[in-house]
């Protein structure tokens, strides 16, 4: 039996008295696209932040079964260590290095998998120069993967919105993740861009990277997800294959509200 790549057990995160997450149990299977959906304010990003170490979980466990590095409980690790362990993420409000060229953004992403330090940089040792070449080559390949090769010299801040999202994904992929966590990657995109993005996400999964996706727009994720978790008010209210979740009365209620449409899905 295949074990989940990422598993959270009774993950809780409180802010003072506010229980942003209560007893979240996620199981993300390797090679899948798993989605975490829910209305705005349901606490989805908090789950991401607790998993990726932006802040430590208040209680509960986060277990990662890395195919090469073994199984670890990563709850409370620093974000950079979690990233180096193979969990990369993007942000809902894009966090690019705005004043760096596109290619350097991706090169920063290659940081955890490269080694050369101060002295080899100062003396330009053969090893350093070789590594820089490898970094450059890999960065170009990642840009090609997301379709930004043409823009490599531009500043990140000058990219179109959709391209900024792509660049953030390329940067996250460059860290060499086994699991990619995407926080509302389609936010602010038009329908055409969204379709292309979904295609890209599939491509990432096919390239061997498991994807955990946050979306608040349910329709969007139903097509590409293998498995869906639904959150509301800090708790998981349903999970299952998309078809099952779509017809779950609790999900419908969370999205439409008991009385009908006033929540919408804005």
């Amino acid at each position: 039996m295949v074990e989940p790549l990422l598993e959270t057990r009774k993950l809780c995160r409180y802010f003072g008295g506010v229980k942003a997450n209560r007893d979240i149990d996620l199981r993300v299977m390797p090679g899948s696209i798993t989605s975490l959906i829910g209305p705005n304010g349901a606490g989805k990003t908090t789950v991401f932040n607790a998993i990726t170490g932006i802040f430590a979980p208040t209680s509960g466990e986060v277990i990662v079964r890395h195919p090469r590095l073994g199984t670890r409980s990563i709850g409370g690790w620093r974000p950079d260590r979690i990233c180096a362990f193979g969990l990369a993420r993007t942000f809902q409000n894009i966090h690019l290095f705005a004043d760096l060229p596109v290619i350097d953004n991706v090169k920063v992403g290659l940081h955890p998998r490269t080694r050369r330090g101060v002295l080899s940089a100062i003396f330009r040792t053969p090893g350093f120069l070789r590594e820089e070449d490898e970094i450059h080559a890999a960065a170009l390949h990642y840009l090609a993967f997301v379709g930004l090769l043409e823009a490599e010299h531009d500043l990140a801040t000058n990219l179109a919105y959709g391209d900024q999202r792509k660049l953030e994904i390329a940067r996250a992929l460059a860290t060499g993740p086994v699991l990619l966590l995407l926080d509302e990657p389609a936010a602010g995109m038009n329908p055409t861009e969204t379709l292309a993005l979904m295609e890209l996400i599939r491509k990432i999964r096919d390239a061997g990277v498991t994807v955990l996706l946050i979306e608040h727009d349910m329709k969007l994720v139903m097509n590409i997800s293998d498995y869906v978790y639904v959150m509301d008010h800090g708790e998981l209210i349903a999970h299952g294959p998309p078809v099952a979740v779509r017809s779950d009365p609790r999900v419908i209620e969370a999205y439409l509200g008991p009385g009908g449409g006033e929540h919408g899905h804005g």
Binding site: H95, L96, A137, A138, H153
Partner: protein, 413 residues
Amino acid sequence: MRHLLRFFPLGDAIAAGRWGVVLSSVAVVALLLALPWLTGDPAAPSRWLSGCESRVVNVTLFVVVYAVLALGLNIVVGYTGLLDLGYVTFLATGAIVTFDLLLLVRTPEGLALRVGENAGLTGQPVFGFDGSIFVIMLIAGTICALIGLLRGIPTLKLTGDYYAIVTLGIAEIVFLVYLNESAFTGGAFGMKLDFAARPTLPWFEDGQWRWVKLYHDTGAFYLLALAVLGLTVVLSDRLDRSRIGRAWAAIRLDETAARACGIDVSRYKMIAFAVSGFLGGVGGALYAIWAGTVAAKSLDIWQSILILCAVVLGGMGSIRGVLLGSAMLFSLRELLRETISVGGLELRVPPEASFLVYGLLLIFVMRFRPKGLFPRGSGESVPVSVREEKELLAAPAHLYTLAPAEPTETGHG
């Protein structure tokens, strides 16, 4: 072949075909080397050496010494984006350590400093050996790097104005210590280097190599200072255009994203503090030899501000900017001392007013050119020509780990 080229300074620029950078760099170095000859007395036995005593070369030397310091400050302020107001600590420590080492003598009772009451002390100077200046610069740099690390421990988590005010506070405390612990610093009166205590460098003179004492108007010191500046520029540039420099840029631009990219922010800040401290210590050693006297009292917080002013004026994070900023600011300081005669009216900016110019510069630069007069370029950390890029795309990329080969133009993965 490419790697061999890149090993040498300017190799990057040559490889990327940036001939403007190459030519201007060579021209500046040549001009600096030829400057004493240009300003020298043609009738003197050595026109070059006589030029070393000229006003122009003196001002240049002043600029060079402060440019080393400014580049050191630039590591923290320009690369990691933290406003260090306590940089004078490194300058003062470097200068004081240099003097302490040079004035350290071995007496029958043990080691002692020829400072203050002990000025008459006789004995064998410990660091009086020829060429000791290199050892001393290394020691001063290392001590300052350690201070940088020590100071980094409490300030790691701070950003913005709290980082600035804490570094300022630490610098003030260190200042008070240096002012009051006169056994090591000469206190309010300071320390002086006499002829005997001056370090030496080898020099070709009268047909033979011999050791000459270093003074601010000697050719040996001019070349030493230029060499240190050159090494500092190369070091800054190479760090900036490396994995380290990209990590610093990431921290400066977005700390959260830097962490999410697997960068250990504390570690890279510490590296910046250590390198910055090291350069500050080396610059302090140069300053000490150049000035010949060191008084703790004159190494106060305004020195920090002055150096910061050069960095800000030129452009934080831009080596070219910091160099030009230092050149403008510190030659301005000298120019302000000149008397200009306009229609019989003698005009002179009083020395008291020079800080007014710096203050206004800070305000105006921040308003109109917040990135400085010669801002940091927005180019890639490693510029690569189109041909090289094709080669790189064709070569296997071990770091590209996405599994099944997505059919890119080059077709591998």
